[in-house]
Subunit: 204 residues, 2 copies
């Protein structure tokens, strides 16, 4: 475990974990790098190499125990627990994410909703009430929140990201169509449907 | 233009384009690889190297004309036009994407909504009525649609992707938390908030 692990390898682990969860749901108990690779469009050799950074998870010829590998990757990605998340910016996309059923059992739960619109503050979505962004720091500290999703307009996103980092947030998933800067020690990932789409139209 | 262009380079062009649009909106007319790099957390050398695959866009010492570079990258990514899109699966996320204002001026427009739920078919979102998925092939051909976004449950996603490809769709942006397979000649990109989040928790 002394080799530094390339970020691109870390980035593939969630894809492997998702496929393993799918196999578990199907009732499949054993898989192989070959089977996984076929499902994911990744070579079997790549999968074996990626996993070898973290240990020995299968035996030559007998493949991987799906449940065991799923547990181990969950532990490596630290999603063998549930991370409470703040969701900031409760427009259409924020509402959809607040209601999204796909976080449960994958390591995350939205526990606090924030907006700066007085008309929205106090409204409920499911069990949660939308709070004023002014309470961000207090709530993040109280609930020990380290992860936030930003669904605010692009013009406000950097300012809100700065507030998040100041409050103690360490990981931001940004939906605003702008590249954010965060200081050393904080992480940001960007998700923007248009960049995905443009990456495909190039080839059309 | 005879060198093959690495996919990772193509993948950065939308990020450059987004930053250039932001500069245009700010009223900035000239930029440099250094300035762009600082905004994006990418080295100036990387940006110059990426752009050099496509031609000469700036002069040593005078930087890039923002509007010109924006036009050229738009042309390279084929988003100097508007791609009509089908949106399939009108749950919370589908509704949010149907209403999303961020496609306009970036090369895309949602022109057709599909679902398989009889209770939803006929409902309007903005100017569009939700249609039966049974009409997919007919509408895709009529409106010459080549791009689709999938916001259907994971269990249905592969089946719907197959329908899309059979109907003539060439590029799919998949929001379902499952890796899809498409035949040669079709493209798929995946977007899943949980894979982004898990990629960060590894480092926490």
């Amino acid at each position: 475990m002394t080799r530094p692990i390339p970020d691109i390898v870390v980035g593939r682990l969630p894809i492997y974990l998702r496929a393993l969860s799918f196999l578990t749901a199907e009732g499949t108990q054993v898989t192989s790098s070959h089977d996984l690779g076929k499902r994911l469009g990744i070579s079997a050799a790549q999968i074996r190499k990626d996993l070898s950074f973290f240990g020995e998870f299968g035996k030559q010829g007998t493949g991987y125990n799906v449940g065991y590998l799923q547990e181990q990757i969950s532990r490596i990605l630290k999603v063998d627990r549930e991370w409470p998340m703040a969701l900031i910016g409760i427009g259409d996309l924020g509402r959809a994410l607040a209601r999204y059923g796909g976080f449960a059992h994958r390591g995350f739960r939205v526990v606090a909703l924030f907006d700066n619109d007085p008309a929205k503050i106090g409204q409920a979505i499911g069990d949660l009430k939308i709070m004023s962004i002014d309470r961000l720091s207090e709530v993040v500290q109280e609930q020990n929140i380290r992860v936030a999703m930003l669904t605010v307009p692009a013009k406000d996103a950097q300012k809100v990201a700065d507030l998040c980092v100041a409050a103690g947030i360490k990981a931001i998933l940004n939906y605003a169509p702008i590249t954010l800067k965060v200081p050393e020690g904080a992480l940001v990932q960007h998700t923007d449907p248009v960049t995905h789409l443009q990456r495909m139209t190039y080839y059309l």
